[in-house]
């Protein structure tokens, strides 16, 4: 906790990689450990100015989505983690996106240290590839099969149980 003598910021400005500015209130921004750390540092220094946090890795499209997520979760910040309404919202939120968007959102969640969003994205991707064939998974992840036919056969033989 910041001591009572230091300043208290109510909002910050976040800048996307394509130079768009987003005004974000502190409670929402605190869902991201990266933003929270910046805020805490500034408060410790006693700054009263609104601070600008540049995010060089996140485009405004994706930042809008991350902030939408953070806003929703800030509303539920005092509830326990098992809130059914929030879980439902999380699911509906991710369902809308294609793989490319999920990809960027996952990277942004990792970069901005928004752990619950990262967990959510990874679980969502895992669930969506769970019952697919090896070939389908390679396509989704843009994986080039660099095994020799012999190596691939060996792996399949060794773990015959896994490749029914």
């Amino acid at each position: 906790m910041a001591s009572s003598s230091s300043s208290s910021l109510s909002r910050v400005v976040v800048k996307s990689s394509d130079n768009n500015l987003f005004v974000v209130n502190k409670k929402v921004a605190s869902q991201s450990q990266l933003l929270k750390q910046c805020i805490d540092n500034m408060e410790e220094k006693g700054t009263n100015d609104v601070i600008l946090i540049p995010l060089s890795n996140v485009t405004s499209n994706i930042l809008t989505l991350v902030l939408e997520y953070c806003e929703k979760h800030a509303d539920f910040a005092d509830d326990d983690n098992n809130n059914q309404e929030l879980k439902q919202w999380d699911h509906e939120f991710l369902k809308k996106f294609d793989y490319a968007t999920l990809n960027s959102l996952t990277m942004a969640a990792d970069y901005m240290v928004t752990k619950s969003l990262l967990n959510l994205c990874c679980q969502f991707i895992a669930d969506s590839i769970k019952d697919l064939t090896v070939q389908q998974i390679r396509q989704i992840f843009d994986i080039k099969n660099d095994f020799t036919p012999q190596e691939e056969a060996d792996i399949k033989n060794e773990n015959a149980w896994a490749f029914r």
Partner: protein, 242 residues
């Protein structure tokens, strides 16, 4: 292009962790880069209910032999019906040599013929366990003086309660930091019908007591747990609890 690409290894590993264990192992076939990524998983859950025992044992062996982590957080395993006990004990021993903190075992067979199998010895000497959950009815036969769970905080047992009440207390005494105890006990075969539950560190306790016959009239449970915050006792025959 609608695809997932350029994810760093640590995020891919995170996705692999979110898969069921069998699916995680299967990702080793995708490419050279993916071949070993699953080896870092920290939580294993294997359900062998529908497999045949040989295949299942191979799977468990393969997972354990290849996991690089020496600090599994969790190992949940459901054994298939037909697996015999010596094999089961061998598998559990292998699992526990990996410094597991959480162990859940379920065998989907009701051991209809008595005696029920004793608690697996290897589980009783696994000093790294923090949580132990045995969902199959084991006989609570404990070899003298080998039990010690210095870190065990949560114990869930389904047992045939012993002929001598001291056995239960002996088990509880070997858990110096136990906080949560959930005990489903079958009373049919106990002769003493008096149980001391004395655990100074215990905060939460659930007792569920059951017996098949109708010749049981009374039993005593003496609870000495000064730090208890939550207590639930269920007797399916609704005997007076004193």
């Amino acid at each position: 292009m609608d695809m997932i690409s350029n994810l760093p290894d640590h995020i891919i590993v995170h996705i692999i962790f979110s898969l069921p264990t069998e699916e995680a192992v299967r990702t080793s076939i995708l490419s050279l880069r993916w071949k070993y990524l699953w080896n870092d998983i920290t939580s294993i859950c294997l359900r062998g209910c529908e497999n045949d025992p040989d295949k299942f044992a191979n799977l468990v062996g393969h997972v354990l032999d290849n996991c690089s982590s020496s600090s599994f957080l969790s190992f949940e395993i459901y054994f298939p019906d037909k697996m015999r006990l010596p094999r089961l004990n061998a598998l559990i021993s292998n699992a526990l040599s990996h410094k597991i903190e959480k162990l859940t075992l379920k065998i989907n067979t009701w051991f209809s013929r008595l005696p029920a199998p004793p608690l697996p010895k290897c589980a009783l000497v696994c000093s790294t366990l923090v949580a132990l959950n045995l969902r199959t009815c084991f006989d609570i036969l404990i070899p003298e003086s080998i039990v010690c769970f210095p870190h065990l905080k949560s114990l869930e047992l389904c047992v045939i309660l012993p002929k001598q009440d001291s056995v239960l207390q002996q088990l509880l005494c070997s858990c110096p930091v136990l906080e949560k105890l959930s005990l489903s006990g079958y009373l049919d075969f106990c002769e003493v019908r008096k149980f001391d539950i004395c655990v100074p560190t215990l905060r939460k306790m659930c007792l569920y007591l059951e017996y098949k016959g109708d010749n049981l009239s009374e039993y005593d449970i003496i609870i000495d747990t000064p730090n208890l915050e939550h207590l639930s006792i269920t007797d399916i025959h609704c005997l007076d609890l004193r």
